[in-house]
């Protein structure tokens, strides 16, 4: 069960690695895209800005390898936070750039409805799902997960949305399309429910 965590120079891979370890996932953090062939699962983490992250995925060679492993070889991938956003067709953060294009949609800034709503969206908030995704197996709907972000995923195809979260109206907090999964929250920091979600992914 090798779970490969993609290292493209942005940080905080250690907490994802530790959480995957706790969930029985045999994690490897990997800088070299050529190593992707050993992976049974891929995790695309990320903090930082969409533009820089895409540049890094391209210059490091991960971009091509991911297209091959995810689209052709159908290796399951989980994008976390910025990693979920990078799955989109396009992201406006940092000046605007094309994403990986795995899930149709774009990533735009959260707009507060009223002046007392603060951005970034930081803290614990509900994840409402409809019980039809394997990612949320044994996780009740409306459980709190930990979020920290200013941008959100706008999905073009409704059927790819598997969870929503109420903030700035409501936004898409998880997507799924075949072997591709993305979550806006941080499962590695969301304690029991987060670990359950990681287990669900690892044992797909």
């Amino acid at each position: 069960m090798k779970t490969l965590i993609i290292d493209y120079g942005l940080c905080n891979l250690d907490s994802v690695k530790r959480a995957v370890e706790e969930c029985g996932g045999n994690p490897v953090v990997e800088l070299d895209p050529q190593a992707a062939s050993i992976a049974e699962k891929l995790i695309l983490p990320g903090v930082g800005n969409f533009y820089d992250a895409m540049q890094r995925l391209r210059t490091s060679g991960w971009y091509e390898i991911l297209q091959k492993e995810v689209l052709e070889n159908k290796i399951p991938i989980l994008g976390i936070c910025l990693g979920m956003q990078l799955l989109a067709t396009y992201g406006e953060e940092g000046g605007g750039i094309d994403g990986l294009g795995f899930v149709k949609g774009k990533v735009i800034k959260l707009i507060p409805e009223t002046s007392d709503i603060r951005i970034p969206h930081i803290g614990w908030n509900e994840v409402r799902h409809y019980g039809n995704s394997i990612l949320f197996k044994e996780i009740p709907s409306n459980k709190d997960f930990y979020f920290v972000h200013s941008y959100h995923f706008v999905a073009e195809e409704k059927e790819t949305i598997i969870a929503m979260t109420p903030y700035c109206g409501q936004f898409v907090s998880a997507v799924e399309s075949k072997n591709i999964f993305g979550v806006q929250f941080h499962p590695e920091k969301s304690q029991r429910v987060g670990f359950q979600l990681l287990k669900n992914f690892i044992h797909l």
Binding site: R18, N49, G123, V148, Y167, E188, K189
Partner: protein, 252 residues
């Protein structure tokens, strides 16, 4: 709905956890790792860890120590102490912190905030602002663990750090710190009115009602506390239950 967070603060000095009063007369309160393990099992919302001696001793925080702690910390963790450039931030995030808290380093070089925000994203930049009342009763920002007066007003500084790209403000009243007499609500309100990023209130919590005031009157997005958890029987979980009974949304 986003929940209001209760955040225990752990302060380091000379390899142990300490807690003082008014940023002074530090008492040893144990070691960090067992505290983190306890907070894990109690489903604490988030943790703040600060090495309070790093800036004054002109050194960086012990990254290996942070790495060890982060490996056991399955909740969001903000780490601060002695951060003065982007390499310090990178090392702390690499060690497993989710956010960094910058105080003196941001005052010395305000562009550090924008540099870190553009590289790692605003969401991981917490700017810590320590405030004390001066002789005329006006508020003033202090750096270097409360030892150096900066001659600037916290409202001015809060707006500046927001403009530079801070994602959150950790606002501490030095006068209330460790006194357990309640948060400085006037100070908190002045900052939450001035900025639109989340503000974490810190300094003075002695009971759960103090937290309610900081949230409902002060409009803080989160409350940090140390003495109440170190020196009394009160716990983060009970605090959340109390807040919930007052109509504040918390994660239970």
């Amino acid at each position: 709905m986003l929940k209001t967070r209760i955040i225990p603060t752990l302060l380091f000095k000379n390899y142990g956890l300490v807690k003082g009063v008014g940023f002074n007369s530090w008492r040893r309160v144990g070691s960090a790792l067992p505290s983190i393990k306890v907070y894990n099992t109690r489903q604490v919302d988030e943790l703040i860890l600060v090495d309070i001696a790093a800036t004054q001793e002109e050194r960086t925080i012990d990254y290996e120590e942070i790495d060890t702690l982060a490996d056991e910390c399955f909740m969001p963790m903000t780490v601060g102490g002695g951060i003065k450039d982007i390499d310090d931030v990178r090392n702390i995030l690499r060690a497993g912190a989710d956010k960094v808290s910058i105080n003196s380093g941001a005052i010395q070089n305000p562009n550090l905030i924008s540099t870190v925000a553009s590289f790692f994203g605003s969401q991981c930049v917490v700017v810590s602002i320590d405030v004390k009342k001066n002789g005329n009763g006006g508020y003033e920002v202090y750096s270097c663990s409360g030892s150096k007066s900066e001659g600037i007003h916290p409202v001015y500084w809060a707006k500046e750090v927001e403009k530079k790209g801070a994602g959150e403000i950790l606002l501490t009243s030095i006068d209330r710190d460790g006194t357990m007499t309640g948060y400085d609500i006037e100070l908190i309100s002045s900052i939450t009115d001035a900025v639109s990023i989340p503000v974490i209130a810190s300094g003075g919590a002695g009971n759960y009602e103090h937290m309610v005031e900081a949230i409902l009157i002060g409009k803080a997005s989160a409350v940090a506390a140390a003495s109440i958890f170190h020196f009394t029987q009160q716990t983060p979980l009970e605090a959340k239950q109390y807040l919930a009974s007052k109509g504040i949304r918390t994660r239970l």
